[in-house]
């Protein structure tokens, strides 16, 4: 079998693709990679194409710390996202580049120097069965991915047949989409209005945009919890439960905001004054506990311009990687053929 054997899994490493869509009405969160551009670039670096059937071949998402694995069979791989130091057979290798491994080689990915989530893509993609249209891991439901759970020591992860046919291409590199600053200046996150914006006074909305928030240690794939200026809702934050879009800023009765992400619940009973624009979700995905955030309210129009900007940037990166890149690029509700 062509694949990798997990020697050290890291705290939370899961198989993810773009996500499991179409089942939110039944209560399934979409799951999927948190930093979409980083995962797209990782796939492009290893030459994986995307098409309508497979909008994005599955990759590994590693949280804060990478994996150590041994290759069974030759493979090509690339590491993107958080800045994680990596070695192949004890030799340093750069991220955002295409690498080749021989059968028996050991890849060792360390603790993130900056950013929170690293992505590891393999030529051909990870061979796990799609469940309800996606290979993404939904841990809560023990669904999809590798046995519906995070990876652990000894797991054998199959890769789609690339084995002996692997011919090294010319060196391939890419630039990260954004510099992941940790413990530096606050990240600026843009938000559009959410369904319960009218429950918040002008004064509260102004305070929200002037305040600085800290990413709490209780943040995960479900959501980023924020410490800082509370956001009191007029008449309380309890609402009759309604649907939750990705990026929704939810406010509890104590006023503490939480941004709901890939593994969010689909309905909830807290007021949602804002929704983080999709263009800034990758930034949020890379924020780590202790990082500072600031927020700016933008119009729907500007949110969509920002999304198009992200697509243009990512598309450019993908084409620099491979001039013949012909994947489709799905992001923020835009589906662009490159």
């Amino acid at each position: 079998m062509n694949g990798i054997e997990i020697v050290t899994p890291g705290p939370l490493t899961t198989v993810q693709d773009l996500g499991r869509f179409g089942y939110q009405r039944a209560g399934f969160c979409p799951s999927g990679v948190m930093d979409v551009p980083a995962a797209l670039i990782a796939n492009a670096l290893v030459g994986n194409k995307s098409d309508a059937d497979e909008p994005m071949p599955a990759v590994l998402e590693m949280t804060m710390q990478g994996i150590v694995c041994v290759f069974h069979g030759d493979a090509a791989f690339a590491l993107t996202g958080a800045d994680m130091p990596a070695t192949l057979n004890d030799k340093d290798i750069p991220s955002y580049a295409l690498h080749y491994a021989r059968s028996g080689d050991t890849l060792s990915i360390g603790f993130a120097r900056a950013g929170c989530r690293g992505y590891l893509a393999f030529a051909g993609g990870i061979d796990v069965p799609p469940v309800m249209g996606s290979r993404s891991t939904n841990i809560k439901c023990a669904l999809g991915g590798f046995e519906g759970r995070k990876l652990k020591r000894g797991d054998m992860l199959a890769l789609y047949g690339v084995g002996g046919r692997l011919k090294p291409r010319k060196p391939v590199y890419a630039e990260p989409q954004h510099a992941y600053t940790s413990n530096g200046a606050p990240l600026l996150i843009r938000v559009a209005d959410g369904p319960q914006i009218e429950r918040f006074s002008k004064e509260t909305i102004r305070k929200f945009q002037n305040a600085q928030y800290t990413v709490s240690v209780q943040s995960d794939r479900m959501g980023v919890r924020l410490d800082g200026e509370p956001l009191p809702a007029i008449g309380g934050a309890d609402i009759v439960s309604d649907g939750i879009p990705c990026g929704a800023v939810q406010v509890s009765n104590a006023g503490q905001p939480m941004i709901l992400l890939a593994d969010r619940q689909t309905v909830g009973g807290y007021a949602k004054p804002f929704v983080v624009i999709e263009a800034d979700l990758p930034l949020l995905a890379q924020a780590r506990p202790g990082d500072k955030l600031r927020f700016a309210r933008v119009s729907i129009r500007n949110a969509q311009f920002a999304a198009l900007e992200t697509i243009a940037d990512t598309g450019l990166t993908l084409r620099r990687i491979d001039e013949q890149y012909t994947g489709s690029l799905r992001f923020a509700g835009f589906n662009i053929k490159t």
């Binding site: 089942y23 009405r25 209560g27 009759v240 879009p245 309905v267 509700g333």
Partner: protein
């Protein structure tokens, strides 16, 4: 808050709109939510990718590259008026008969619930299975139905300390609500029985059995019947009984 006119269409970021039909847990409001969801299923609006129905509103997710928020607002307003006019809702979904083995090992809290309500366990079973419940929405976990219609006399507070593991199929009462756990999970509801029917089965062509607008009736069965039904559910040969719910029927 000021009195609102419904339906109203609210923003939910750059890729979603909320169509709100009211501000309360009310079957008549939920009928309209479900009617709009059905309408979008039967006659799709190009660019709409998914909807999430909840008690009183429908979250409509869309792709901005295929339809503008402005145009979608306009189309949803038109569809919503039609949904409002459709008084029967056209929303009555299917009525499911869900067999439940009450009490014993499957419903360990039945005696406590009976004691709390001051009636016999048999009376709890009779009243719990005497109602046609409405599925207001799904959520909390995949396939978990928020049911409306619990007999007020059966309301029982949750456990002080939630159980670490509640087996899938467990039927419970938590405060004013009753429901069925579709997955093994922790939880604090009082367990009064268990159904062999899988509300959620990833291997089934329709992984989640219920949808918003459906109706559910619990049919008491014996332990032997439970074992038999459970075996055929495992084998995939169990036939789930469902029929068109009567328009404007209970709840």
């Amino acid at each position: 808050m000021s009195r609102e006119f419904y339906p109203r269409i609210l923003p939910a970021g750059e890729q979603a709109l909320v169509v709100e039909f009211g501000d309360a847990i009310d079957p008549a409001v939920n009928d309209r939510v479900v009617a709009l969801a059905r309408s979008l299923e039967l006659r799709a609006i190009n660019g709409v990718t998914e909807t999430i129905a909840s008690y009183r509103s429908l979250l409509v997710l869309f792709e901005p590259s295929r339809i503008s928020a402005r145009r979608l607002r306009f189309m949803l307003a038109r569809r919503s008026r039609a949904a409002l006019a459709d008084r029967a809702g056209g929303s009555a979904g299917l009525l499911y008969d869900i067999p439940v083995c009450y009490g014993g090992a499957y419903g360990p809290d039945l005696p406590d619930v009976a004691a709390h309500c001051g009636v016999s366990p048999q009376e709890i079973v009779r009243r719990h299975s005497d109602v046609v419940y409405r599925v207001f929405m799904l959520g909390f976990m995949p396939g978990f139905p928020y049911l409306g219609g619990l007999d007020k006399a059966l309301e029982t507070p949750r456990l002080d300390t939630p159980r670490a593991l509640i087996p899938a199929g467990s039927v419970g009462i938590g405060g004013r609500q009753t429901g069925v756990y579709p997955l093994d999970s922790p939880g604090g509801w009082r367990l009064i029985g268990r159904t062999p029917v899988r509300l959620y089965d990833p291997a089934r062509s329709k992984p989640v059995l219920l949808q918003a607008g459906d109706r559910v009736r619990f049919i008491p069965i014996s332990e032997e019947e439970y074992e038999r039904a459970d075996a055929s559910c495992r084998a995939g040969s169990y036939e789930i009984i469902a029929r068109a719910a009567e328009e404007g029927g209970a709840v």
